[in-house]
């Protein structure tokens, strides 16, 4: 049988990075082809090439016997490819019917004018909505639908456009077990009709249940394609992980020794009002770096935001050196000695209209301010001192304290952000994905800085989605899954497989 789509030797380079290196991938009619790999393995990039969002640097794409060097978004649709992204692209303000036909409204002639042919729209819509099992009135606003129904609407939209290949990107993240069952039922029906399905998911158990073949990607390279029936979960996890670890940044002492140190920071039963994290408790000992592993949305960042007071928590206590902290807003957290380096640097990390000097001064100013942050004078002498000290201590590469932070590289921006917390003398620092989007050299510098802080008696908490990073920096690693803390592993002895197993299987 001829594959519906065949991608051969796809390579994609972005400035400075090779995102994909000679990947081959094909989709047969009537099969579910699962695509797995860790964050950054290249799954999304490959699918974006298939949908025409990205153009490959080299390689070929063969669709229905026609050969392309690259696809445009238009040819991709014409070749019957549809992608249902995790962040659904339905338009909430339109009805189901209008969403199905967005950009391709059928028309008819009426008194010489081209007008929308609602009758044929409704007929077609009825057929596909029946097929996907979406039993709402087609005039319902999509915004009024629950997430699983929006997803069905998106799949129906793919069917209306005559898609033969449907890519589902993390389709079950926000679905309950019975909704997953319903979706899998639909996938089986589509299979039977000869459609090819690409299924991307982190949830290992599902893959075995629904997949026919499984392709594994790792760091932008092709690992292999395996029949789902013949490969075990453990084998798959081994294939996905197993990168070389370069350099370690552990404490000099063993974990047993570290555990005898006094507890400097403790969280007890942190539960967020929106329940995205529940009953999280952990202790941080002096001198150790505690890591937080898990999938995006597993509750790591959510916990830290609640501890820091950025979002409300419904219950839970926080202790610094045995003293309970009362935190209602980040201001209170900072006054009492906490600091947080947020994941999204550009959005949450620094003021884009500020120079390095001004950014570094924000936190020490807040720390010594009065009247809830409103009171206090500026002092240029202090600003100069803070900025110069941190720029040299952290080796920030900038033209000087007056350079705009936004003009620095990612790594140096991160150092400026770290600098403001250091200048404020924060006792406990929360690093959320501190090396995301940062070059290798700066990464290593940041690990060394974190270790230095821990040695100096500061508390260091580190969230990361890169297991290798956690395994070479953190003395202990807390693994999250579904809003709960599932296990605490020892950094030196834990393996990537352990982390992946705990964070992907319920």
């Amino acid at each position: 049988m001829e594959p519906l789509i065949r991608m051969v030797g796809i390579t994609k380079t972005f400035p400075g990075v090779k995102a994909l290196d000679g990947i081959s991938f094909d989709i047969m009619p009537g099969e579910v082809h699962v695509l797995i790999g860790e964050n950054g393995a290249g799954k999304s990039t490959l699918m974006k090439i298939l949908s025409g969002v990205y153009q490959p640097t080299s390689g070929k794409i063969i669709c229905n016997g026609r050969e392309y060097d690259q696809l445009s978004t238009k040819t991709s649709v014409e070749e019957g490819i549809a992608i249902v992204y995790q962040e659904l692209s339905v338009i909430n303000e339109l009805s189901i019917l209008e969403n199905l036909f967005v950009g391709k409204l059928p028309t008819k002639k009426f008194m010489g004018l081209s007008v929308v042919d609602f009758k044929s729209m409704r007929e077609k819509a009825k057929v596909v909505l029946e097929q996907v099992g979406l039993h709402h009135d087609p005039d319902t606003l999509v915004g009024d639908l629950a997430v699983p129904d929006k997803q069905l609407c998106e799949i129906a939209k793919a069917l209306v456009s005559g898609a033969k290949v449907i890519v589902l990107d993390e389709p079950t993240t926000s679905l309950t077990t019975s909704e997953v069952e319903r979706l899998h039922g639909l996938i089986r029906e589509l299979k039977a009709k000869g459609c090819g399905i690409v299924y991307i998911s982190h949830k290992m158990k599902e893959l075995k249940a629904i997949g026919d073949r499984i392709t594994v990607l790792k760091d932008g390279t092709y690992v292999g394609t395996y029949p789902a029936a013949e490969i075990t979960l453990d084998e798959l996890i081994k294939l996905m992980v197993g990168r070389e670890i370069k350099g370690t940044y552990f404490a000099d002492e063993s974990v047993d020794e570290l555990m005898t140190h006094p507890v400097i920071f403790e969280a007890q039963g942190i539960t967020r009002s929106d329940r995205t994290c529940r009953d999280i408790s952990f202790q941080l000992h002096e001198g150790e770096i505690l890591g937080f592993a898990g999938l995006v949305g597993a509750g790591r960042t959510e916990t830290m935001e609640a501890i820091f007071g950025a979002v409300p928590k419904s219950s839970g206590k926080v202790f610094l050196k045995g003293k309970e902290l009362h935190i209602k807003e980040p201001y209170a957290a900072i006054k009492q000695g906490l600091g947080m380096l947020t994941e999204d640097r550009r959005k949450l990390g620094f003021a884009k209209n500020f120079t390095c000097k001004q950014n570094i001064s924000i936190e020490p100013y807040i720390k010594e301010s009065t009247w809830g942050g409103l009171g206090g004078m500026l002092s240029n002498a202090k600003e100069e001192k803070w900025a110069n000290e941190q720029i040299s201590a952290l080796n920030v590469k900038c033209t000087g304290p007056e350079q705009m932070t936004v003009d620095l590289s990612g790594g140096n921006q991160q150092k400026v952000i770290l600098g403001k917390w250091m200048a404020a003398g924060s006792e406990v620092l929360i690093f959320d994905e501190p090396t995301k989007g940062i070059d290798v050299g700066s990464k290593s510098e940041i690990y060394i800085l974190m270790r230095k802080l821990a040695k100096a008696g500061k508390g260091v908490l580190m969230i990361s989605s890169e297991q290798t990073e956690l395994l070479s920096v953190c003395d202990r690693i807390a693994v999250f899954h579904g809003g709960e803390l599932k296990a605490v592993l020892e950094g030196k002895t834990a393996t990537e497989e352990d982390i992946v197993r705990i964070s992907t299987t319920e």
Binding site: P330, K347, L348, A351, N353, S369, G373, L374
Partner: protein, 323 residues
């Protein structure tokens, strides 16, 4: 916050960012001096221009804070009218004029606090809240004044408001300059001021940095309201009457003065001296058109067009600076 001009050599864009507002101001004066020499080189011209500009400057100072946060305050025109009316009515009710003026300013502060409270509580965009409140305040003004003008103030008040220092500085202008001085100190020398720039640059980042968004928003609208209150008193003094529609359309001038003064409409960038210059520019345009005998209706057309030209020019220069 554009002190990052450590660039080598001369660039028009950098020059414009720093001195653009002053350049426009001087150009306008030159044009006016050529067209109507008598209107510029006379002993009455400067006090006249300053008197006309004082209300613009005061309102622009308040508006500056809202725009600095990336927001807007459309209610200042009505707040200005309403506070002026309140003071006028108090004076007519035999309240000592100094007390009446203080009450008017405080009334402005309270109006601002009410705006701030509603913005914080509803979470709606300040455009909506202040647009609605503008109508509310204009309506209230008609209610309390019975839709008729109030005049006949104590002699002390009229004398004070129409006095000039050294024959050039009218009291209104002095009030505007003192206010500008205090607010300059606030923005350039206090933590609160710095926090406002951080908030305007990136609200969410500011929250994570420990800057309480609601507290600062409340303060900004209180400042804006207080400035409107001061403007209301100065306006009442200049006209020696409080009209039931006083202030109508003034928010447009205030917004224009703020933007012409180099404040970014997107928040986080701008300085008090620029705003003062912006207010003066609006005053000069008004004065210039009056002495050139352009009729009042046509003045509006010209004013609107000039505002768009000035802001477009500013936008073009600053976008070319980024390239």
């Amino acid at each position: 916050m554009s002190d990052n001009n450590t660039n080598k050599g001369f660039s028009f864009a950098t020059f414009w960012q720093r001195f653009g507002t002053i350049t426009i101001l001087l150009l306008l004066l030159v044009v006016l001096a050529i067209a109507r020499p008598n209107a510029v080189f006379s002993s009455t011209s400067i006090p006249q221009i300053l008197r006309q500009s004082a209300v613009n400057i005061l309102l622009a100072l308040g508006e500056f804070f809202a725009i600095l946060l990336g927001y807007i305050d459309l209610s200042i025109s009505a707040a200005c009218g309403l506070t002026g009316m309140c003071s006028a009515l108090l004076m007519r009710a035999n309240c000592p004029w100094v007390l009446a003026c203080i009450a008017g300013v405080l009334c402005g502060t309270m109006i601002g606090a009410l705006n701030g409270f509603m913005i914080n509580k509803t979470g709606l965009h300040p455009f909506i809240i202040t647009l609605g409140m503008q109508t509310v305040y204009f309506g209230l003004m008609l209610v309390v004044s019975n839709s008729s003008s109030v005049y006949g103030f104590p002699a002390g008040f009229s004398k004070f408001m129409n006095a000039t220092l050294w024959g050039v500085l009218p009291v209104g202008a002095i009030i505007a300059l003192i206010t500008a001085g205090i607010l300059w100190f606030l923005t350039a020398r206090t933590k609160m001021g710095r926090n406002l720039y951080a908030l305007g640059g990136n609200r969410e980042a500011a929250w994570y940095s420990g800057i309480n968004v609601h507290r600062h928003q409340m303060l900004v609208y209180m400042i804006s309201g207080t400035c409107a209150g001061l403007a209301g008193i100065v306006l009442t003094g200049r006209l020696n009457a409080a009209a039931p529609t006083a202030g109508t359309g003034y928010e447009t001038f205030a917004i224009a003065a703020t933007i012409i003064g180099g404040t970014s409409f997107f928040g986080g960038v701008g300085k008090i001296p620029g705003v003062v210059a912006g207010g003066l520019i609006i005053g000069i345009i008004n004065y210039g058109m009056t002495v050139m005998m352009i009729d009042a209706s046509m003045q509006k057309v010209v004013m609107g067009a000039l505002i768009i030209i000035a802001v477009t020019l500013d936008h073009l220069v600053s976008t070319s600076a980024k390239k």
